[in-house]
């Protein structure tokens, strides 16, 4: 009883925080939890009352069950390979004194901000039946479609994500430890095996879980390159677009949500705890020990090879945008650019509007969210933390389908409006803004806020006078991240767009699906120019004040 009284008292004492709590909770309840719940309800409803008939139906259909196993299989092998590549990349760029590090980092950043299906698209163009390399240069028929093609594509798509996590961990391992090990007589191999590797294991695990979640939820690449190898994401799409069967789509989503949720839980509450312990030490100024020639040049060769493939990917997009007929005639033409303007320009304009709105909302909500979770020790903050992080794990198509199911009918009808797309984007990218907010808040000492309170400022005044001005750069980072993600997002919005509110990414997927490689490449090039340009401008304007992609 006294706990209840204490809780109520804590909330009444601080109306600003309480208000923010309510707003964030309500927002996430309506636009995140409700769609998820709607999906469960839709899947468990039979012709007469609640029933599991759709689930038994699912189990009876071999193709669908296979797609589930395929998804798991693809997630397993891609996670292993992407994590391995990511680790080697991270190790090479943080702890080996090799040349070209800036270039390798640039390649990784490019992959991180790119369209989620760039690799799939260009792989079809490079290695497909009429691929530039397989058909054009080598003259050999090669079947890229299928699980092996998808595996390579997912590895190249998601290794930067693994890299990003592991670089943070590897950087935090004090080089003094390596010196200590060497001082005690350990050779390079022992230093790696006994010191660096054990300390980076939590980072590797965390990265792997993150990659697995993303592979499970990826839609664009399987749609382009999986061929007959069906995965849940493409099957769910087929159920809706091909058969109009929302309930079966919901069943597929729910079944996929289970492993994703387990991975998310493992990452958030198990691995990241262990991670935290190793990341506490302050980085020292010690220089990295010179590594052996063999290690150095092997890793350099490896990173160069991967980077070369990625350079090739973007070159093919650029080339495709201007080549007359991909696979047949590679002479220059501006035709594709002109062709996509009709459909593309309004779509790009929509994307810019939506991304600006969502970017601002995510940055503001993210910073406020991080502030009240990490600074206001109010009861219930763990729940808010949980629902602010979870959207990052929920596959986009899943939330997209959830939105159709929940906002098609009263009380809240949003279908076919711009709002539904913006809201969906805000929810999906809130974790990004939230993470940026957390990073910012952790750099501001608590006592600075306490000093403000002590001098007579309430929560609102402290927020306005102290927290917001000090978190400008965190806000900027949150905005840029969310903006870029919104510009290129595809899997969720593909279910929400209308001819009036169309977006470039789904258009590109559609064009590629119908074999209009030139136009798909042209629109991709336009979109890539915008996101890369955004990042470059941000760097030029804000310099080091806004820290983006610290890799």
């Amino acid at each position: 009883m006294s706990v209840v009284i204490k809780t109520v008292r804590a909330y009444l004492k601080d109306p600003t925080t309480t208000g923010l709590y309510l707003i964030l909770f309500l927002f996430m309840l309506v636009f995140f939890l409700w769609p998820l719940l709607a999906m469960v309800l839709a899947s468990a409803e039979g012709p007469s009352g609640p029933s599991l008939s759709y689930y038994t139906d699912f189990l009876a259909r071999k193709l669908l069950v296979n797609s589930f196993w395929n998804s798991l299989m693809m997630a397993t092998i891609s996670t292993a390979s992407a994590t391995a590549v990511g680790f080697l990349f991270a190790y090479a760029t943080t702890r080996v004194d090799m040349p070209g590090k800036r270039f390798f980092r640039g390649v990784v950043i490019l992959q991180l901000i790119s369209l989620p299906f760039t690799v799939g698209l260009s792989f079809v163009m490079l290695f497909g039946r009429r691929g530039l390399i397989t058909y054009g240069l080598l003259g050999r028929p090669f079947e890229i479609y299928g699980w092996h093609g998808l595996w390579v594509v997912q590895t190249l798509t998601f290794f930067p994500l693994a890299y990003l996590v592991m670089v943070g961990v590897l950087k935090s391992i004090d080089p003094a430890l390596e010196y200590a090990a060497r001082n005690l007589g350990a050779g390079s191999a022992h230093v790696f095996r006994d010191v660096v590797l054990p300390l980076s294991i939590p980072g590797v695990a965390s990265a792997a879980l993150l990659v697995a979640m993303n592979v499970l939820g990826d839609f664009g690449n399987p749609a382009l390159i999986a061929g007959d190898f069906s995965v849940i994401a493409t099957e769910a799409y087929m159920q809706i677009v091909g058969w109009g069967d929302f309930r079966m789509a919901a069943v597929l989503c729910n079944i996929l949500f289970l492993p994703v949720f387990v991975l998310f839980f493992a990452q958030k509450y198990w691995v990241s705890r262990k991670l935290y312990v190793t990341v506490t030490g302050a980085p020292t100024q010690l220089e990295i020990k010179k590594s052996g020639k063999l290690v150095k040049w092997t890793l350099f060769g490896f990173c160069s090879a991967i980077s070369l493939v990625i350079v090739l990917i973007y070159a093919s997009i650029g080339l495709g945008a201007f080549a007359k007929t991909w696979g047949v005639d590679y002479s220059f033409t501006p035709q594709h650019l002109q062709d996509v303007t009709f459909q593309g320009i309004p779509a790009v304009r929509n994307a810019l509007i939506f991304s600006l709105c969502s970017g601002f909302a995510c940055a503001i909500l993210g910073v406020l969210d991080a502030y009240i979770v990490f600074r206001k020790r109010m009861p219930g903050r763990q729940i808010l933390d949980f629902i602010s992080t979870l959207p990052a794990a929920v596959p986009g198509f899943l939330l997209g389908i959830g939105y159709i199911l929940s906002f098609n009918t009263p009380p809240l009808v949003l279908t076919a409006t711009a709002y539904i797309i913006i809201l969906n984007n805000i929810v999906r990218d809130l974790p990004t803004g939230y993470q940026a907010g957390i990073a910012g808040i952790q750099q501001v000492d608590v006592s600075i806020e306490e000093a403000s309170t002590n001098l007579g400022a309430g929560t609102f005044q402290t927020l306005r006078n102290i927290v917001v001005p000090l978190l400008k750069s965190a806000f900027g980072a949150g905005f840029i991240y969310a903006f870029i993600k919104c510009m290129t997002t595809v899997s969720a919005v593909i279910f929400l767009i209308t001819p009036e509110w169309n977006l470039p990414s789904p258009i590109i997927l559609g064009l590629a699906g119908h074999g209009y490689w030139g136009q798909a490449a042209a629109l991709s090039a336009i979109l890539l120019t915008i996101v890369v340009g955004t990042l470059v401008i941000c760097r030029l304007v804000a310099g080091r004040r806004i820290q983006l992609f610290e890799v």
Binding site: K6, K13, D445, E450, T453, L455, G456, A457, N465
Partner: protein, 358 residues
């Protein structure tokens, strides 16, 4: 004497750990009170509870007679100086100091006047247009003090504000702090783990250990008349001797120490002793007198052997074995160190019996 702050059975728990355990004491108005104890003793928790950053689990806090236990921190009007100063990095020194006045409806002109006045008092007028990052540690500390003083707080709370300064500056600044407190006639509560600092600035010292208040007293009381073994041990160097009460008189008591030594000690009236009781005797090293020749004083005289010597500058510290007991003695300015057999004598009024049950 008026009470500026009164704590009544204040208790704060963090999970199963009791950080502050039923602390009760009064802080006199216009006094400089020091909360002293080792790290983790609960002194900072107590200070932060007074500021309102922690809600008590039990007990009350009264500031100027008003129960503030459930008053939020920004309504308590306590001025706090943080250990790391916590200056607002995005505001100039002037705005840092003026910040608290924003919430006290003081007109702009008056606010500026008050900021300048307090800045003048602390000798930082020339820094008003700078940012905190452009100041030295000592200057930052002054700004932090000015910021806390300008709001005319009911009580000034100092959370180890000197610990980030180097030793020489620290000694100077603590004298200044004390002077400012006295000149302005404000009440200050100062948290420190540095016993020398506590003795130097405190009008009253509250010694804490494991969340509990173990002794409250003036610096001399705390130093020479510790109530518990912990207080005796924590502050400076002290000789602690096990003794048995041999005979008690009205003012004095005869104690047997070791197998055959008898010492005479004065006792305070509050301590009740009975014959045969085991007690702990304490005496500071500077009160243990050593000499090569027999001193004039009768009684409390022992023969001892110098075992080790440390030259410490102002004094020389001797480790003396006297019969079954070991004693530390600090002797001032002995350029020719004592060696071998010495006379050890102790003034009975300086021998203190710890009231804590042995």
């Amino acid at each position: 004497m008026d009470q500026a702050v009164y704590l009544n059975e204040a208790t704060k728990r963090f999970g199963s750990v009791i950080a502050v355990d039923h602390a009760s004491f009064a802080v006199e108005d216009q006094s400089f009170t020091v909360l002293l104890g080792p790290s983790g003793c609960g002194k900072t928790t107590l200070l932060r509870s007074i500021a309102g950053f922690y809600d008590l689990d039990e007990g009350q806090i009264l500031i100027k007679g008003k129960d503030v236990t459930n008053v939020p921190p920004h309504k308590r009007n306590t001025g706090m100086v943080f250990q790391n100063y916590a200056l607002f990095p995005h505001m100039k020194v002037f705005d840092n100091i003026a910040y608290g006045l924003k919430f006290r409806q003081s007109p702009k002109a008056e606010a500026e006047q008050r900021v300048r006045k307090v800045a003048g008092m602390l000798g930082i007028e020339h820094l008003l247009t700078r940012f905190p990052a452009q100041l030295s540690g000592g200057e930052q500390q002054r700004v932090a003090v000015a910021r806390a003083l300008v709001i005319e707080p009911e009580v000034l709370l100092l959370d180890e504000p000197l610990s980030n300064l180097d030793a020489k500056v620290r000694v100077r600044v603590r004298a200044e702090l004390k002077k400012i407190q006295r000149d302005l006639g404000i009440t200050a509560i100062h948290v420190t783990h540095d016993q020398e600092e506590a003795l130097a600035v405190g009008d009253k010292i509250v010694v804490m250990n494991k969340g509990k208040v173990t002794q409250i007293g003036t610096p001399t009381e705390i130093y020479f008349k510790p109530k518990t073994r912990f207080v005796a041990d924590f502050i400076g160097t002290i000789n602690l001797l096990k003794a048995t009460v041999a005979k008690t008189t009205a003012k004095e008591v005869l104690l047997s120490v070791g197998p055959d030594k008898i010492l005479l000690a004065c006792v305070s009236p509050e301590v009740v002793l009975r014959d045969g009781q085991e007690v702990i005797l304490s005496i500071r090293p500077e009160n243990v007198e050593l000499g090569g020749e027999k001193p004039a004083r009768e009684g409390n005289l022992l023969r001892g052997e110098v075992k080790d010597t440390i030259f410490m500058g102002a004094v020389t510290r001797y480790f003396v074995q006297a019969g079954g007991i070991e004693l530390i003695a600090d002797v001032q300015g002995s350029d020719v160190p004592l060696k071998g057999s010495v006379y050890v004598s102790m003034d009975s009024s300086k021998l203190h019996i710890l009231p804590e049950a042995s």
